[in-house]
């Protein structure tokens, strides 16, 4: 636990120092909301009874959480490729704490990204629901989702041989997670085959639940089911990261 905290705080120190990374993260969020959200709003005034900005904001927040997770995975990959992991491996700390340190810093970055996005979205006209418990529940769900995707990113980072390879594999996850979901368009407009894919995507459940909890958009899926799926995603992501990471350090 102690070593996890040390590694987490080291990563956060490096994160705050890297101004390009910070600026990039913040700008990315703002650009999504401003360019995509505002542009689309001109075309679509409302979806299923809510304004489009409120409708797509949960999806964009999820996407930016993915961006944060990808950045976190790069830290693990970079430390692995440059041999910094060896410093941890010869230290008297549990192997697990190395992964947990990475996972917690990755999830923290994802949450920071999500928070910036939320603020920008609200400034651009998304309407939050009036129930603060809903916001907290939505944030918790987002955190679980961030943990799940951080797990995926770290799992890929644990086995990639290069930064390029890592980006290639992450891209494979990243794009479908957003577009093959209900993040940008309602389930009801999709053809049947795509609906099957969308229903297999954990992003769909996260987005639906966050919409309902934080923005007062009527849920299209049972809330409990959504929570269960997001939780399962978090567990699976962590498990995958753990097993691939252990394989990469046991030599």
């Amino acid at each position: 636990m102690h070593a996890t905290y040390v590694i987490w705080s080291k990563h956060m120190t490096k994160f705050w120092r890297s101004t390009e990374e910070l600026l990039g993260l913040a700008l990315q969020s703002v650009l999504w909301v401003v360019l995509f959200g505002v542009g689309m709003r001109g075309m679509i005034s409302n979806v299923e009874g809510s304004d489009y900005m409120s409708y797509i904001l949960p999806g964009i927040i999820a996407l930016s959480a993915l961006g944060g997770a990808v950045g976190g995975g790069i830290v693990l990959l970079d430390e692995r490729l440059r041999g910094i992991t060896k410093e941890y491996l010869v230290a008297p700390i549990p192997r697990l704490s190395i992964l947990l340190g990475n996972a917690s810093s990755t999830a923290t970055k994802a949450m920071i990204q999500a928070a910036i996005m939320l603020v920008v979205g609200v400034l651009m006209g998304a309407r939050l629901s009036l129930n603060p418990f809903g916001w907290i529940a939505a944030l918790l769900l987002l955190a679980l989702f961030a943990i799940g995707f951080s797990g995926l990113a770290l799992a890929v980072a644990a086995i990639s041989r290069s930064i390029m390879g890592y980006h290639g594999m992450i891209f494979l996850f990243n794009l479908p997670l957003l577009f093959a979901s209900n993040a940008l368009y309602p389930l009801s407009v999709l053809p049947g085959w795509m609906r099957v894919i969308v229903m297999l995507n954990p992003t769909t459940y996260l987005v639906d639940a966050v919409r309902a909890l934080a923005f007062g958009v009527p849920a299209t899926l049972p809330l409990l089911l959504s929570v269960a799926v997001v939780l399962l995603f978090a567990v699976l992501g962590t498990w995958l990261a753990l097993s691939l990471f252990q394989r990469s350090v046991l030599k």
């Binding site: 040390v6 120092r17 890297s18 060896k86 941890y88 010869v90 230290a91 700390i93 030599k251």
Partner: protein, 315 residues
């Protein structure tokens, strides 16, 4: 009986296609500087990786600082300091942060960390640079910072994998100086690997020669050299060296002849170099063209050639 800081029996590491380490036995008494000398790819790094619990041996066993490498790895880890062959540092941290985070990983309290950092900055002469980002450091400063990191937790045994690789002579002798001082003052045990002959000669009280995953010889550098004979006459030339060697090998004062397989250079070990030089050259009647002859005292380089059949060259 001296207490053994490092003991290994039959260490083997096999990967899918190669055997990196092929049965190494090692005994390093506490307070000694031991150098593993060998070319790149000889298995030195893999051996150090096994002794520092980074890599699990395929076979064999070992104890470091009195603890079993496999069953008591956490105890081993708290008692050793390690620097790696490549420079392994976070460029986006200051030198002070690197040392401080390292101390935190080992659960050193804050006031102890502050004190250790102050002492180590003095020792490795980093001065004000300690508060600069590591990415502004020169190669020599990075190596010195890594050495300080290895010493941060006051280890009983320090493992150094090629500690001066790529350094200029000034930085290299600097690092040798720090190591000698630590060894003398605190009885620090050091196991280092190197492919620099001078490094092994300058630092180590015991040298192990490693080639193709095996420890082919070990002993004090002076003893190893003394065992080679009094003088060596090195002969460089071209033509039929076999016949020439046959002839000189029969001379009563020639103790041994050796050929470097790669370069074809000949080494003739004799009782007295200057006296026998003329006789050696006079023995060359078979058309072997001698181009260059030197007389020297044997060095570790000759020891290396003797035990491995090839010369050790700096890469």
């Amino acid at each position: 009986m001296t207490e053994m800081a490092i003991e290994a029996r039959g260490l083997v590491k096999r990967y899918a296609e190669v055997t990196a380490v092929d049965g190494i036995d090692l005994q390093v008494p506490a307070g000694m500087i031991y150098a593993m000398l060998g070319p790149n790819g000889a298995g030195k790094t893999t051996t150090i990786s096994m002794l520092t619990t980074l890599v699990r041996p395929t076979a064999g066993a070992g104890r470091v600082a009195g603890y079993d490498l496999l069953r008591e790895a956490p105890q081993v880890r708290t008692r050793i300091g390690v620097t790696f062959q490549d420079i392994v540092l976070d460029n986006d941290l200051t030198g002070r942060q690197v040392l401080d985070i390292h101390g935190q990983l080992y659960r050193q309290p804050a006031d102890l960390r502050r004190k250790r950092i102050a002492d180590l900055v003095d020792l490795v002469q980093l001065g004000d640079a300690i508060d600069r980002l590591v990415k502004t450091y020169s190669g020599g400063m990075k190596r010195r910072l890594e050495l300080a990191r290895g010493l941060m937790t006051d280890p009983a045994i320090l493992f150094l994998d090629e500690p001066t690789q790529g350094l200029d002579p000034q930085n290299r002798t600097g690092i040798w100086g720090y190591l000698r001082e630590l060894n003398r003052q605190r009885g620090l045990t050091v196991l280092l690997t190197t492919h620099y002959m001078e490094e092994a000669e300058a630092l180590a009280s015991q040298v192990g020669i490693v080639d193709h995953g095996k420890l082919v010889s070990q002993g004090q550098p002076t003893e190893l050299v003394a065992a080679m004979g009094a003088d060596v006459i090195r002969v460089r030339g071209h033509g039929d060296s076999a016949a020439f060697l046959n002839q000189v090998a029969g001379l009563p004062f020639v103790e041994r002849v050796e050929t470097d397989r790669a370069s074809g250079h000949l080494s003739l070990y004799v009782d007295q170099g200057s006296r026998r030089l003329v006789e050696i050259i006079a023995a060359n009647t078979n058309g072997y063209q001698i181009e260059d002859v030197t007389i020297a005292r044997p060095t570790l380089a000759d020891v290396f050639l003797h035990h491995t059949g090839h010369a050790l060259r700096d890469e």
